[in-house]
Point group: D2
């Protein structure tokens, strides 16, 4: 286990940034973090000017963004809570300024093995990802060993985390009848849509409403495909906005290759996630609820099996700002630095 | 078209009853309705004592429940907004008192062709449904002709209406690849869970929460099977509570038998529901939202087709108290009495 | 009573406009209304393109705004659901094009007797209100006679309506001890803040939140002063945003000039609002709730009196889009045209 | 500062109990607490059976309630999260079993100096409070010294805390014109109404609703009178339910004895609450919001002064489960044990 970490955060002005600040300020192994703000927040000198929530206990310093300043600050770990365009530029600049930095990027910029995947789903004009910035996909339940040594970690998407963690044990066990379809029906709170005021996030448009969006085109699709190990044509992934602030509830539908009983299913999940302290497998018959995971960094997984033992519904729940974003970023830092995975997260 | 209807309502003390009262009080062909209350609401003499909303405009009379009184009141149509046990007893009693009555029952008591289906899903001890009370399933978009002559109408469940209307055109066209699964993922507002205070409907348990319930055991399953013409093992139907008051959003997943394009799909639905004024088929690329159907009696249907043309997501939205309960009950009365189907419903 | 009204609506793109459209489309004495849109909505030809809610039943025509076109269309009544700057320009233009038009303006442009009041509260640079556009303040419960003959009606603010209707009977009776303070604490839903996306109306900023705003500076203050007949220094008026879509609940605190009993208070209100069909005075001991007035055009008033008979709390509730805006605008049209005041509003 | 505390909690099955458990489990000076449950929860052996939120990190033991067992357990501090009737019986029983115990009672049982005050507001039949159980009122910002030595602490009501902390500086300074009225208009989230399912806390009755309740009869009135040092006839205190889960926003209206400027007001509050780490005085011109205090133990206070300097509106915000209940209980323990007041609360 390394000593205390000196930490820099870039761009903590959105909802994930707010949550990240909250977690880092309370983290037992993090020295008082410094926040670097991009243009437009130039005059701000401390966190509570951005977020009155921090008044009286979280008065961390805010500075203008500068790769050089970060490199020279002695930071061990840098979190990028920035749009993917900004991350694409910042990562090489930070490594150029200090090749020993370790970076956790919350954007999608470095999530894909193949540059063309990013280009296809995220950009109008295909761009070349810098080839010397190979990232590890930041899902510690799957990739702990690589993360321990990673210099650049691509923090997963919130939906992706929920779906991949829900499906991976079954897929790896080969228990799914792939000739039938896999359906991933996800419901999300509104903080995932970002802080920028838009018509779609106006209170009156969300309240007493629910709707599907991004069907067959959601950008988290290729992450799921890659890390749940599913061909794009083998699953359907839909996302819905519901009137809650935070949380993702994913209902995952699979047909099994052969009849199984509930104990087998539960045992598979318990064994797959043994020692994974932020995964909670519910006993057969219980299903997760958003209220049990919001404001936490847990991913709860439960399931229902039909009497014939062939149709299986898995429900996966997490807080999109916790295990779905900032909490997972901190968990990744914990792995990178050799702290206990749950440090600062319970 | 018949003349104005004299109407009696039994048991209008829940949320569906409130909505039914509202619709009937404004209906152009309904004479001032009379409300018959069961035990426990004995002292109540007018609607606004039950629901202050009706003060000043909806002061309809309330009387103690009596099959004889209803029969002698000259009522043409009786609505039963009662639990299924009560409806099971009331229907034969009402027909005994006046064989020419026409009844719309909002409960599940008479929804099934086979008595054992009701017994299996709704009762602990199998009961015999009275054999002389054959009901027509009250989905006017499918069964208009039979409903026109029906004496007893079994008003469908809210989820069932949403799912059946969403799937039936595809199924009837034979376009679904049944070797793969059909998934029906439904999200519902809380008024569908009834007015009785329960731990699960406490504000604090619903707010900022979402959860699945009744997976593989929801009582609306056999209705869907029967009227969407699907074997129980061919589909999965799950229901979720989300923090809205009213509305059901059903996301329906099918694999098509062959690649099709969006125009074909849209044309199929438009043709199937031609002249069905309470069905709104959205143009390809638009998806329904709860906010466009709440406080209405419409069922909105839209869809998204994946580029390969084989995976299809249909979204069906309605107000669980409108087209999912009271609105549909009024629509059934309109059909039974020969009024325009939308009378009192726009 | 006049014959059916030909109606034009200008600028129905906000939440009050949506409600106004809904009411006019169902109004028994209104011929199919025409909607005139301002720049930016140029291509829109029918209402459902603006508001999918209207699909299938409210396909009213939309046209580009033109005072001449409105004048030549034969419209009897024009509703302006426009910002005050736009109304200031439109009213003289419309009267110039057709001096016999009758106009209901939902903005604040013509609400004040003295031009400098408007200038002081609404403009940076004091402007001169056109002197030939004297409006009647559109509160039919107080000014019915003048409204019957008015050519230009200034529809009141939502908070103002709620507070004035709650206080006026007591003030007119002279029962208030003015040496002590009058406090008006108002809670409002978010639709009153307009449809334009802003940081303050983002779902995440409203949900699970409540806050006061505009204390000592809210623009509805001078309306209340003028029509509740209170000097500005005699009352405090505060407004709060709470996480509901629609509704205003005003809690009004007065000290009485002498001890009174609850029957006197109730009798005063009942007598003051006798024959006022959209005012509902609750029996002593009952207090209004938003849920009983939302989606209605009622203003409900109830009160609690302390045992000593000197401290009185009046609660006034209405729907800010109903009696607080669009409903009241329609009520004003009803008065102007000699229709029953409740026509289209129950 | 004492060493680590051994802690027992009685009756942690409601929302305040849940919050108390959460705080104690994370408290740096509390050894793993034990929870004693009353009848009806007999079979429960650990917290997560009561609250699935605690799965995986908060598996504290639950035992059947027994005063003897608590006394013999070596507990230093006992929290009573029980109804007042239960607390009335438990406190003497606990002291009888172990006279050195220190107790924080979250109920109202011991909040009043005079037994008849409790009897008048809380009981039908006046009861005698045990005379040997004198409690200190648990508002550390006012009574820190007495609390340091107290054996029995009566934790204040949530509304009372909010109002007393908001008014006390002004009252103690003598700046209020008492000849005019003081108005306390409080808005509360629903968790304050308890976890027991009731018609009034059904989601559908709260959502999109707001209402006043308990006007002139709310049980927190005498606490406010006693500790804000106001005669009952000098203020009006009303409470409102709004559709949020947690939080109290109190808008307090006073007329000053003489014109003052904003700096004086701000300085008064800052000076009164100097060194009080859980009080946050906002700069003049800023007003508190629920979202900045929910899930915290802060009480935020801000104000607006009218230009004449005589009418003052103070806004006080806190989390009814935090500073309004469980957080304050923990703060009281901190004072009693000599820990930093904010220990476990930031």
């Amino acid at each position: 286990m390394s000593g205390p970490a000196s930490v820099a955060v870039v761009g903590a002005t959105g909802y994930a940034g707010l949550e990240l600040a909250r977690l880092l300020l309370r983290h037992p192994h993090v020295q008082k973090p410094t926040f670097y703000l991009r243009n437009g927040d130039a005059g701000i000198r401390c966190l509570s000017e951005l977020f009155p929530q921090f008044r009286g206990w979280g008065e961390a310093p805010c500075k203008p963004l500068s790769a050089t300043a970060i490199a020279e600050s002695g930071a061990d770990v840098v979190f990028l809570s920035t749009p993917h365009e900004a991350s694409l530029a910042l990562v090489p600049a930070l490594f150029a300024a200090n090749p020993r930095l370790r970076i956790v990027d919350l954007s999608a910029a470095f999530r894909f093995r193949e540059p063309h995947t990013f280009a296809k789903w995220y950009t109008e004009v295909p761009t070349q990802k810098p080839t010397d910035c190979q990232a590890v996909y930041g899902l510690p339940e799957l990739y702990e060993d690589s993360l321990g040594k990673a210099q650049l970690v691509a923090n997963p998407g919130c939906y992706s985390t929920s779906v991949i963690l829900g499906l991976r044990p079954l897929i790896q066990a080969g228990w799914i009848n792939r000739a039938r379809g896999i359906v991933c029906d996800c419901k999300s709170g509104v903080s995932g849509a970002g802080k920028e005021p838009k018509r779609e996030t106006h209170f009156v448009e969300i309240n007493e409403n629910a709707r599907a969006y991004g069907v067959f085109s959601h950008r988290h699709t290729p992450e799921i495909s890659e890390h749940a190990q599913l061909a794009l044509r083998d699953f359907v992934f839909t996302t819905h906005l519901i009137p809650v602030e935070r949380g993702i509830l994913s209902t995952l539908y699979v047909w099994l290759d052969a009849p199984r009983d509930a104990h087998e299913i539960e045992a598979l999940y318990r064994s797959f996630y043994a020692q994974r302290s932020l995964m909670r497998i519910l006993p057969a018959g219980s299903l997760p609820e958003l209220q049990h995971v919001r404001h936490t960094n847990f991913c709860d997984i439960g399931f229902a099996l039909d009497p014939s033992g062939e149709r299986l519904v898995i429900v996966s729940a997490l807080d999109n700002l916790g295990k779905g974003a900032a909490g997972q970023a901190v968990q990744n830092m914990n792995v990178m630095r050799g702290y206990p995975q749950t440090a600062g997260l319970l």
